[in-house]
């Protein structure tokens, strides 16, 4: 067999094979080390830059084709709904980008979608499919509403506390599915969606006439105090500070996922839970952490809506943001930048849907249809990429 000591390394000479502390490749001299590192470094930097450019280009291309495919697939339905695609899409454009108010409305709708998309994406990174954002946003909305109405304190503190209460409520709402998944292995899709229906019931119970949070309007609470409102930032439109908070949170999510050991653990458990276990990472713990973080983001989704857009808690204030969030996260390829772009696209759809209803007679439900088509396109892409790989001559 081998004489272990004299055998050369497989590639190039190796004079010493002593192990070394992490991060310091060992070479004969410092100069050699530096040369190697520099040449390797610059080559890697170049390759990385090219990769990044290609990666961004590819991601943008996939994003655009997915959106285009979904819109084309939805076109026949506009005809079925008694309109025609041209009228429909023109109305959509005018309602979402054709002026100050439409643009502001797009951003208003984008805000909860960005939070919700991040919620789904963060869980997905850890291999969890949270389709319970719709329930978590109700829980978050209620908590934010209660703090906004009942507490009295200074303006910035009040808003922050109300937002945090929303996040905490969402996280707690997600704790039930997280615990069932981590300890009993019950699939989170079933439990998160069932928690949605429980949340809807609780919401109805609280704001009904005679309910604990009954307000002067039929299915809503009284308004939150002025100190708890997210200030408007583009008078005279409804656009509020929530969009800024959402973008900051998106940045924080990016940082957490890609630039902290905690985010690395999430991604590792999502990619290979067994390897995680062999390297000392408990997947049960990551499941609970990821689900609660996701729930917190879901709770914020509701909290910003309550504190910024409606300024009170309303029963069924969400037109399905939680479900659109699934499409937002998948369209955004689970990356916060992609999710932001996708939430803008769905914001356009939501904002334009009023005009769509008025001019083309198509209901808001068309947005859910497009969500479904987007998710279907994401799911079907696998076949296309496999076909492409095969036609390039590679084995499957």
């Amino acid at each position: 067999m081998t004489d272990a000591d004299n055998s050369p390394g497989p590639h190039g000479p190796r004079t010493s094979t002593d192990p070394e502390p992490p991060g310091t490749p060992r070479h004969k001299t410092t100069a050699e080390l530096q040369r190697t590192l520099e040449s390797a470094g610059s080559a890697v930097a170049r390759a990385a830059a090219v990769d990044l450019a290609q990666g961004v280009g590819r991601a943008a291309f996939i994003f655009a084709t997915t959106v285009a495919a979904a819109l084309v697939l939805a076109a026949p339905l506009t005809i079925a709904a008694g309109s025609d695609p041209l009228t429909a899409y023109t109305a959509l454009y005018e309602g979402s980008l054709g002026g100050q108010r439409p643009v502001a409305e797009t951003l208003v709708s984008m805000t909860p979608l960005l939070f919700g998309g991040l919620a789904v994406a963060v869980a997905f990174q850890a291999g969890l499919f949270n389709i319970g954002v719709e329930g978590q946003l109700v829980a978050g909305g209620i908590a934010a509403g209660v703090v906004g109405i009942k507490m009295t304190t200074w303006a910035p503190v009040h808003v922050i506390l109300a937002l945090l209460a929303g996040a905490a409520a969402g996280a707690l709402w997600a704790l039930v599915p997280a615990a069932l998944k981590a300890w009993r292995g019950v699939h989170e899709v079933i439990t998160t969606i069932m928690m949605n229906f429980v949340a809807f019931s609780v919401s109805q119970f609280l704001v009904k006439p005679g309910g604990a949070l009954e307000g002067e309007i039929p299915t809503g609470t009284e308004p939150v105090q002025a100190t708890a409102e997210l200030p408007r930032i583009w008078e005279p439109t409804r656009l509020h500070l929530g969009i800024v908070v959402a973008v900051i949170v998106a940045g924080a999510c990016w940082y957490f996922i890609y630039r902290t050991p905690g985010g690395y653990r999430f991604r590792l458990v999502g990619a290979n839970p067994v390897a995680a276990r062999f390297n000392g990472i408990s997947s049960s713990r990551v499941i609970v952490e990821a689900m609660m973080l996701s729930g917190a983001l879901g709770g914020l989704t509701g909290a910003v809506e309550v504190l910024g857009t409606h300024r009170r808690f309303l029963d069924s204030f969400s037109p399905g943001y939680g479900f659109d969030s699934i499409a937002v996260a998948l369209l955004g390829a689970l990356h916060p930048v992609g999710v932001a772009a996708a939430s803008f696209f769905f914001g356009l759809l939501r904002a334009g849907s009023t005009q769509l209803q008025l001019e083309a007679g198509i209901t808001r439900d068309m947005i859910t249809v497009i969500s479904g088509l987007v998710v279907a396109c994401v799911a079907a892409r696998l076949l296309l990429s496999r076909r492409a790989a095969r036609s390039r001559g590679g084995a499957d």
Partner: protein, 309 residues
């Protein structure tokens, strides 16, 4: 609390059975699909399609039997799409099923105003399926109340569970189907056509779920309204898991959820307990039952795409 016990009578039993019927159909469909190795989160969407198609075709033709047949055909069609995604494309089975659910929720709602001008969230009412009184049984004291309130759909659902058991555990097709869900490679090694078997199972699941949807629209309500299923597809999945993927226990789980639902409905009318909270009862019961399900009872190859060598 006497009023809470007043609810428990034969009318409650009959109503409980009726409310569990859509769950039974959907859960048994899910069982077929998952026993063959394909996760079926898409039951909700398939039920919606079935419920909608049943009403729409009944409205056009004026005959509810034609509506029923059309709904089952639509169920098979959606089942085929689902099968294509999860078996041929081999995409993530949860993601593709979610696409179907979202699409179904949107399309069925968007088509209501498109077909029936003016209608917003509801379709107009159409001819329902009538109750079906079994002559002798309905005359029995006490229990007769139950039988006099059931339609032939209800009897079909109750008979379907043992029938599914018979097919899965006592027929060659069932044996092969379960083999595909446990170890597709082992099944293929003895000449079982895994792809075709799985397609059949998922399409059958579509038909069953559509039947559950039709029950909601053509038997219970006589119309279709936006999101009529209201999570029953997922409740059916919970029942399927609670019943450990076995037809008779699954039937029992569905009846449990249905009874809980009937209880909350009757509690609403008989007492001034918080109605809204009681509406969540079936879901809370569902969540609690899931706590008691151990790991590793699901078919071994569930969710795993089969790649032919």
């Amino acid at each position: 609390m006497p009023e809470m016990l007043d609810i428990i009578d034969m009318n409650w039993v009959a109503q409980g059975i009726r409310l569990s019927v859509p769950l039974i159909f959907a859960a048994l469909g899910g069982l077929l699909s998952e026993r063959a190795g394909v996760i079926n989160i898409a039951l909700e969407g398939k039920m919606l399609f079935g419920a909608f198609a049943g009403v729409a075709v009944t409205w056009w033709t004026g005959t509810n039997v034609v509506g029923l047949i059309a709904a089952l055909a639509v169920g098979a069609g959606i089942g085929w799409v689902h099968a294509w995604f999860s078996i041929t494309v081999r995409s993530d089975q949860i993601v593709s099923a979610t696409a179907i659910n979202l699409f179904a929720l949107g399309v069925t709602a968007a088509l209501i105003p498109a077909i029936w001008e003016g209608g917003r969230a509801n379709t107009p009412t159409v001819e329902r399926f009538r109750r079906f009184e079994v002559p002798l049984l309905s005359d029995l004291p006490q229990i007769g109340t139950v039988f006099s309130r059931l339609s032939w759909f209800d009897y079909t659902a109750l008979v379907l569970a043992p029938l599914v058991w018979l097919v899965l555990w006592r027929s060659p097709f069932g044996l092969r189907l379960r083999a595909c869900g446990e170890s597709p490679e082992a099944a293929a090694s003895v000449g079982v056509n895994v792809i075709r078997t799985r397609y059949t199972a998922v399409m059958l699941a579509g038909v069953f779920a559509a039947m559950g949807g039709v029950y909601l629209s053509l038997v219970q309500n006589g119309l279709f309204q936006r999101g009529i299923t209201n999570g029953r597809g997922f409740l059916a999945l919970a029942a399927m898991i609670f019943g450990k993927w076995r037809p008779i226990p699954v039937l029992g789980a569905c009846l449990l959820f249905g009874m809980a639902d009937a209880y909350q409905l009757r509690a609403q009318s008989k007492s001034d307990l918080p109605v809204e909270l009681f509406q969540a009862l079936p879901y809370v019961v569902g969540l609690i039952t899931l706590v008691f399900v151990g790991r590793a009872v699901a078919p071994a190859a569930i969710g795993r795409a089969y790649v032919k060598d």
